[in-house]
Amino acid sequence: MPLANKPFATPLTHLAMNKILDATAQSASPPRRLAIDVNNLSLTFETADGKVDALSNVSLQIAEGEFVSFIGPSGCGKTTLLRVIADLQQPTAGSLLVNGISAEQARLDRRYGYVFQAPALFPWRTIEQNLKLPLEIMGYSASEQRQRAERYLALVNLSGFERKYPWQLSGGMQQRVSIARALSFDPALLLMDEPFGALDEIVRDHLNEQLLQLWDKTGKTVLFVTHSIPEAVFLSTRIVVMSPRPGRIIDIIDCDFPRQRTLEIRETPEFLKIAQRVRIGLRAGHSYDA
């Protein structure tokens, strides 16, 4: 575009941008910026048995402060998508912006915290030392490290476990430590890959409630991979339903429960309606496959 046209072009594009943002940010009053902007993203693996389309033409916009769940059967690319956003894997085509910058730059700037399926705590470090690990790497001062370790352990209700080693904690407690660790350097974006998948139902419900409170308190953007329908509906502001071979998005469902919700909403008709829509989406993805 020639430079002479700029005076008109600039305000116009701003206007257009705000329109898009308003649409994606639902009813939020101030227009929110995009935390994630994925356009026509594809990722193809070369395996011994030929090419596998892990992701095919995925497009998705997520505004700051949203809680978006990704649900789908295994092999649908939900974990791959999260890993691509985290710059742990490279897409083969398409564009991706994280907080307005490239995924690689976002990783180098430590813009996100990642919680894996397993707690992946370092067994030779105490809980406090585990929490301090990213802070050590990022060069925080010793006193700052101590303060943050204390603050984030309190946030996940684990004060008093500083001197324990990981094996002395239950699986649920370990996963809470790993969440605190991901939050400790205060990233605006939290990427969670089936963080409660290995836990039993009761612990899981409890952690879901805690996670919601945490999200409400901190105002972070959360991307949450799961294969549990109730978990997805309970936690999210939006649910992205995915389907395998090729990995793609087949439905995006808005989920307008108030930010402060309790487990009881799972009995309401609205909840069951959304859960039903997710189930239909998943079934459609499966039948395509059969």
Binding site: A86, D87, L88, R107, L108, R110, Y112, G113, Y114, F116, Q117, A118, A120, F122, P123, W124, R125, T126, L133, P134, E136, I137, M138, Y165, W167, F185
Partner: protein
């Protein structure tokens, strides 16, 4: 009460069997006793002809018990009896001043210093090599075959070459022996540490990446601590090998001092008892060294929160 009278000693025996000390040491003691019995029988059988020839040469009449007594106390037996070895060992350990050339303590100290220096050199070299190999695929492909080849050549053939070459450039005494010892002991350390440095969970490596940790931070905070169990396992193998290396290195030097020198002198003069007591000395040193590595491992493990 005949039943009670019979039952009482039986239950006492049961209590004895369940005593913690008995539970702990009974297997070891049993094995040692069995080995001693086998050793004595072997000593009698192997020295029998020797002793009988001796009696017949001197044309003295002898009985079976004379023969057996002879096999237990021959001056240069084919296989010395355990008590002979132990007597010679205690004599050469406690019978002389520690600095006397006949003292085993003196010889042990000579060999031990070469062993420890060689072990240190080998450990540093072995770990450095493992780092290079883990760091680069190309280095793995180019270095690993040579590392394996280096261990194919018998050290007994290499040792004199080392001594001569190093002697020509003015290196004598402790250092050449240590280098031979290091040459042998770096290998298990390299192999163990290549495995150890690649031991971290992919998830832990991914975590470090999400924090954009530098390669040096990944090494210091993840790869190195994950490798420690492998390090100690390979150090235990390496330290006994470095003792063997030091002993072998003492053979071609003409045997001035050291356990190797005692072995050489013993075989020159047919002093089998001296050879065996030097061997016993080497075995005690080796188990002491392995024990020290094990102790360090336990201390480090405790500091790193290992499960008790």
């Amino acid at each position: 009460m005949p039943i009670g009278a019979v039952a009482l000693p039986a239950s006492a025996a049961a209590t004895f069997r369940r005593h913690p000390l008995v539970l702990r040491y009974a297997p070891v003691v049993t094995i040692v006793l069995a080995l001693l019995v086998i050793w004595y029988i072997a000593a009698i059988l192997m020295n029998l002809t020797l002793v009988r020839d001796g009696f017949e040469r001197e044309e003295t009449p002898y009985t079976l018990s004379d023969l057996i007594q002879g096999t237990m106390s021959a001056e240069r037996p084919l296989l010395p009896a355990p008590h002979q070895v132990i007597a010679a060992f205690t004599d050469s350990v406690f019978g002389y001043a520690p600095t006397a050339p006949r003292s085993l303590i003196y010889h042990s100290a000579v060999t031990l210093s070469a062993t420890l220096l060689g072990f240190l050199l080998g450990a540093v070299f072995g770990i450095a090599l493992a780092l290079l190999i883990v760091h680069s695929r190309v280095l793995e492909k180019s270095l690993l075959p040579w590392i394996i080849c280096s261990q194919m050549v018998p050290i007994l053939a290499l040792a004199p070459i080392f001594i001569v070459v190093l002697g020509a450039i003015g290196l004598q005494g402790l250092l050449p022996k240590s280098i031979i010892s290091a040459y042998l002991c770096f290998f298990p350390i390299t192999i163990g540490m290549v495995k150890g440095f690649s031991a971290p969970d992919p998830m832990q490596l991914d975590l470090m990446r999400t924090w954009s940790a530098s390669p040096r931070q990944v090494l210091a905070k993840l790869r190195w601590p994950s490798a420690l169990p492998y390090l100690f396992a390979s150090l235990k193998v390496a330290i006994s090998i470095s003792l063997i290396g030091a002993i072998v290195a003492e053979l071609p030097t003409g045997g001035e001092a050291g356990i190797g020198a005692r072995l050489l002198a013993g075989s020159y003069y047919g002093q089998t008892i001296q050879i065996w007591s030097a061997l016993l000395d080497a075995a005690i040193l080796a188990s002491g060294l392995i024990g020290l590595v094990g102790l360090t491992e336990r201390l480090v493990g405790r500091r790193m929160g290992a499960r008790p």
